[in-house]
């Protein structure tokens, strides 16, 4: 599982010394998805969303503005990140609510305990994410250049 990578395509939008800034490209399947409008793929919100998802990498590949590159992140890191961001706060929230309900039998106490569990889970997630980030486990890696036109290279867009 360690060796498997989840790949994505991104375009270099800025360079700053040894660092490049990239914007991920939406997959072609996104255009046909019924939820595309909520992502901003079919609306004017697209560029704002992409800008929000801008990320940086070390420019070990001499990338220039406009280059399209394939980046990868390991499946294990993705699963660990998902567990950290969602599963841990959720489990602490559910656990807190169950404990509150079973100990006091009151909805109000269960609700307060669930909020405390959620906040505690988010704080632990923040600490652990910082730890993983420092080890570089959450950072995408350059794999190769992507060739051919990207989704934003077509001139017949709506």
């Amino acid at each position: 599982m360690d060796g498997h990578l989840v790949e994505g395509v991104a375009r270099v939008v800025a360079t700053d010394g040894d660092t490049v800034w990239l914007e991920p490209e939406q997959g072609e399947a996104c255009e046909g998805c019924l939820s595309a409008s909520s992502c901003g793929v079919k609306s004017g919100g697209s560029s704002r969303r992409l800008m929000a998802r801008r990320f940086s990498m070390v420019n070990s590949f001499q990338g220039q503005v406009g280059d399209r590159v394939v980046f990868g992140i390991s499946e294990r890191s993705l699963l660990r990140a998902s567990a950290l961001a969602y599963a841990l706060p959720l489990l602490l929230m559910v656990g807190g609510a169950m404990a509150g309900q079973l100990l006091t039998g009151s909805d109000a106490d269960a609700a307060i305990a669930s909020v405390l569990g959620l906040v505690g889970g988010l704080l632990i997630a923040r600490f652990r994410a910082g730890h993983l980030d420092a080890k570089g486990e959450l950072s995408p890696h350059f794999l190769r250049y992507a060739y051919g036109p990207g989704p934003s290279d077509h001139c017949d867009q709506e």
Partner: protein, 193 residues
């Protein structure tokens, strides 16, 4: 305690949100091409669905029911879900920008997932209290994630096999989903006993 466990098994397996209630089929077909995508989407949906169930319960009990505003239930819950998704996106971004870059792609898709709206509405219909609403939302979302991962595994295997051209792509996906639904019908025996 036993009633909570039965409620969760019922929501996750016997009345599975995808294969029995047929909710959330768009994302079910859309994000199940790879297991890792299915896991990411499943966890994000579980989080949003559980938090939405709690907030929807609070709004129903403290606002809609006391003031006789039941006719605003659907639109209110849609707004609650959109707010929870936006809140989750903001929190993940604050907690860790790296996590947001890695996982943020799934969040907007949840807003239009009808399963996330369906579960709070079913909670109201079943007159669940706070803890029941939360556990029902959590277990339903777990059942949804479970199906997403199982189906993604099946589709990864199908992609490696030769499928007749007529059935290639979504048609074989729907055939597989129907067989999976038949298999899950076996769990209805639990409720009969």
């Amino acid at each position: 305690m036993q009633e909570f466990i039965l409620l969760m098994i019922g929501a996750a397996l016997v009345n599975n949100v995808v294969l029995v209630r047929f909710l959330g089929l768009c994302s079910f077909m859309g994000v199940t091409t790879k297991i890792d995508t299915a896991v990411g989407m499943g966890m994000a949906t579980t989080f949003v669905m559980t938090v939405s169930s709690i907030l929807a319960w609070a709004i129903e009990v403290f606002l809609l029911a006391p003031f006789g505003l039941g006719y605003l239930r659907t639109i209110t819950f849609i707004l609650v879900i959109a707010a929870v998704v936006q809140f989750t996106e903001m929190v993940i971004r604050k907690v860790s920008p790296s996590l947001f870059q890695t996982l943020g792609i799934y969040l907007p898709l949840i807003t239009t997932n009808c399963a996330v709206l369906g579960i709070p509405l079913l909670n109201v219909q079943s007159k669940h209290n706070f803890i029941e609403s939360m556990l029902y939302g959590f277990a339903s979302a777990f059942g949804y994630s479970l199906i997403l991962v199982i189906f993604a595994g099946l589709r990864e295997r199908i992609a490696l096999n030769e499928v007749p051209r007529l059935f290639g792509g979504p048609p074989i996906g729907f055939v597989t989903a129907s067989l999976l639904a038949l298999a899950f019908m076996g769990f209805s025996g639990i409720s009969a006993n």
